[in-house]
Amino acid sequence: MRNLQLSLNQTQKVRLQKALEKLESVSSKSNPNSCVTVADNIPIYEDGILKGHGTSDRKGELVATVCGVVERINKLIYVRSLRARYKPETGDIVIGRVIEVAQKRWKLEINFTQDAVLMLSSMNLPDGIQRRRTAVDELNMRSIFTENDLVCAEVRSSQGDGSLQLQARNQKYGKLERGQLLTVDPYLVKRRKQHFHHLEQYGIDLIIGCNGFIWVGEHIDARDKMLVDQVNDSEQPITKSDQNSMDLDEQDETCTLLETRQNICRIANAIRVLSMLGFNITLEVILETVNLSNSLTLDIHEMLGSEFYVLVAESEAERRILSKRKR
């Protein structure tokens, strides 16, 4: 059993236990006994099945090769593994860290079995013009992303040899700055229509990458600053005083307000708590956790105390029971 490394007192222990039992009772009714471990037999109820990931054939019997949950879709039977590395699908939004700048490409660590590749040609140039990439562009690659930069991108395709190609052909993709990255288990993130969230009340951008990398950062309005620059260029040369005022503006922009920083930390801590408890991470649950901490007027650091873990577990149990009743 995966235990929480928390120092709980006796009452907290009992409460947490109770909340977890409630969660178990809610979910056990929906899918009884579909959990398998390595080398378990998977019962087959019909002929002509298709065996999917996580299964193998042994003398006519279907056995699991990973621990997880058996999923049956029409004739396809596969095992959805829980704690495993990220399995990419085309179109997923992922966040990665640049670990290498190579010829015409960046290598990104995205919690996959290999490093993902972001080609220079599959990314919008900062000037926004569509053209062939020249040798000069290649030399200037470090001005776009350097090592250890965080990049948000989309999965383009996975090659036959298992390597992964990314693309960033949109203004919403690109370098991430002024915020923090959290890593959670990828099975806690569900694929959805929307992975970019702008939380207006906090002034924060939240990107929930499918690979379990979550970005919480200050909201940046439009990333087409370059367009504005172009307009300036076309006008008459800027005078000295103008430049000075621009510098001040830029300084203002680069400095994040204290309140925003606190909001970033609060949301990040909410995600930490949820991932430690192993709950599904969605925008609604994160906001609910943040609201819970706000309503209790907890300090940001107190969110990582054991009491808050218990409270979150209890409220999550309540929430799931309620949503179950509605259905």
Partner: protein, 241 residues
Amino acid sequence: MEYVSPEGLRLDGRRPTEMRQLRAEIGAVAKADGSAVFEMGNTKVIAAVYGPREVQNWSQQMSDQALVRCEYSMANFSTGDRMRKPKGDRRSTEISLVIRQTMEACILTHLLPRSQIDIFVQVLQADGGTRSACINAATLALADAGIPMRDLVTSCSSGCLNRTPLLDLNYVEDSAGGPDVTVGILPTLDKVTLLQMDAKLPTDAFEDVMQLAIEGCKAIANYIKEVLQENTKQLECRRGL
């Protein structure tokens, strides 16, 4: 010395075919992809699995299968006398190799081409049978990391002292100089992946000792399955819909 008393009890009070108490815990290392602590009586081992990940040494990359690496070490405080051992001594190199080969036999490496899996095992308390405990811990950690495997590998040791086959030797029995057979099996496939023996053993006695070790392996397999099942169930129900 008398290792089995006339009443049929061993030095630590077990029956000859009795195993020490097992305890397993999944998820001991937070940053690892998979990890486990496995205890057999006083022997305690921690295992961590990293990967499948990008191959670190480019020249070792294989285009058709994964590279499996293993590192075994003993904590300085694991034995009675606190010895500072050099990192690459012969004993630990040998055990690393044994564990690597055993685990490689069960991992479906062809599903993870151009990647590398690192297994780190460390003995926290040594009381005989560290080899088997390491293999059991590594199996649990690999299963926790979600790495596809043919079967679980479990391992158990047995020996023969005072002409009695003994299951799961502890340190005192191990250092008595009698034969010590370490067996690793794939329990549902009924295949042997590891068989090691120190000292000599008559052929007829070997059959009994080996059989006893296999029984032990199966008992451990049942326990490990239970732990994994419980863990999977818990993760799934906590995750919710």
